[in-house]
């Protein structure tokens, strides 16, 4: 006889269908395909296969049309088959969202899974991706998600994503800016406290915030920043290279 564990015992039938098991786990009723972030699966019942994205795309041409981000292709897999798939992310809160012919931009490391009816594109803000269309997606957050309406300024670390409003511009604190101008300082390095730079949202829409942030390593971020250096001339790239070497040796 074993007693003392008061957790509800779920099986393949009684696990929730496309709903949370608890605040930190979500059960997908899979019948077809979902895109899931690598390592997001914590358990499953049924005949489910997880395949690498490019491997799956070789016999399913629609993948290339839906997943429009070569940089993130290595971080995602296709879950296919029938069964119940349980998703978790390091004990973070997990919420599901329904997009109805809309668009939503979210930090890529917080996006865990999305239905294949949605289209994923890279945002012009590094580290963020945009989902377009109609369908369900799952996102994790450190603490409950807070919804805010613009006009609004957000701390970059707390920003989870935004929906239906224009991409943010970067706002610098007035005092920090006026000091910089009066002192004639052009280099920002060493003068940033982390709070003088905010994301400024305007227009109509919704901004999503989380209460704190435990950063997850985003392997694609370095590749994205590297792509942006194509804007530089050869001489400017050399100067940047020296600065980066100096920083890595600090």
């Amino acid at each position: 006889m074993i007693s003392g564990i008061d957790a509800t015992v779920y099986d393949a039938q009684s696990l929730p269908s496309n709903d949370n098991v608890n605040a930190y786990a979500f059960s997908i009723d899979l019948d077809g395909e979902w895109f899931t972030s690598k390592g997001a699966m914590i358990a499953y019942y049924g005949a489910i296969e997880l395949s690498g994205l490019s491997a799956y795309a070789s016999h399913a041409a629609w993948v290339a049309a839906r997943f429009s981000s070569p940089l993130y292709a290595q971080e995602w897999v296709v879950a296919s088959g029938r069964g119940k798939l349980v998703i978790g992310d390091r004990g973070n809160d997990i919420n599901s969202y329904d997009l109805d012919n809309g668009n939503l931009t979210i930090k890529q490391t917080n996006l865990l899974a999305f239905e294949t009816a949605l289209e994923l594109k890279q945002s012009i803000i590094p580290g963020f991706v945009t989902l377009i269309g109609t369908g369900k997606f799952l996102a994790s957050s450190n603490g409950p998600v807070i919804f805010v309406e613009p006009p609004f300024r957000a701390d970059p670390d707390a920003l989870l994503g935004w929906a239906d409003c224009p991409s943010p511009s970067i706002h610098y604190d007035y005092h920090w800016m006026s000091q910089s101008l009066s002192a004639g300082v052009h280099a920002m390095f060493g003068r940033e406290s982390g709070e003088e730079r905010q994301y400024d949202f305007t227009g109509a829409g919704t901004v999503l915030l989380q209460s704190s942030e435990v950063t997850r390593h985003d392997p694609a971020l370095a590749r994205i920043v590297e792509q942006h250096t194509h804007l530089l001339t050869a001489a400017a790239a050399g100067v940047l290279g020296h600065k980066l070497i100096a920083r890595s040796q600090e």
Binding site: I2, G4, I5, N22, K38, M41, I42, L50, G91
Partner: protein, 203 residues
């Protein structure tokens, strides 16, 4: 007789002139007259050998005396399980304390797929008594019945009861190419009859 009581993320071990074994370094406070002695996980030399092979370690201390010991580790949720002449398997890192009357042994599930040495060998708890287990977040209980096998990520597996057989399946399908995998290097597949307990956070 020593009694274990879970209070959210802290375990109260009430001692009455006897002893409990608890995870090394998990004592946060105590009242009364209690002595702490560090010891190995039990099972003798053979178990120690098996632990070495499986890369799995369990080190317990003995708390003896009269009083209350408060035990906790990494702010993990605590659940007290009562066993009455039964057995369960627990991932070794998740055992917080056990009372006398329970025996520990490392279950060894073969060498195949042992690339990380993780989640392949677990501790079997047998006998009559109380066992306090820890989980990062609330436990999720998933049933295994004949014809309905369950697959779990080895990093979330905490404990199991009943008669289940565990096998290791590779998460990399034959269609995968080099440099691209599913992120689940291998998974644990359970068949038979029983209940598997997982936590919502990967270790």
């Amino acid at each position: 007789m020593a009694v274990l009581i879970a209070d959210k993320r802290v375990l109260h071990a009430d001692l009455d002139g006897d002893s409990v074994r608890a995870a090394n370094g998990s004592m946060v406070a105590y009242t009364g007259k209690v002595e702490f002695k560090y010891a190995s996980g039990g099972g003798g030399f053979r178990a120690a050998m098996k632990r070495g092979v499986a890369g799995e370690s369990i080190s317990l201390m003995t708390c003896t005396g009269a009083g209350r010991v408060y035990l906790a580790q990494d702010a993990m949720d605590v659940t007290v399980v009562q066993l009455s002449n039964d057995r369960m398997t627990v991932e070794s890192e998740h055992i917080l304390a056990i009372t006398d009357g329970l025996q520990l042994d490392v279950q060894f599930s073969g060498l195949r797929g042992m690339t990380t040495g993780k989640g392949v060998a677990t501790t079997t708890v047998t006998g009559t008594g109380q066992c306090a287990i820890m989980s990062d977040g609330p436990l999720i209980a998933l049933a295994v019945t004949p014809g309905q096998p369950l697959v779990v990520d080895p990093d979330v597996y905490v404990a199991g009861t009943g008669q289940t057989q565990m096998s290791i399946i590779s998460g990399v399908s034959w269609r995968s190419v080099i440099g691209e995998d599913t992120g689940e290097h291998f998974s644990l597949r359970f068949e038979g009859q029983g209940t598997i307990y997982i936590q919502p956070a990967e270790r």
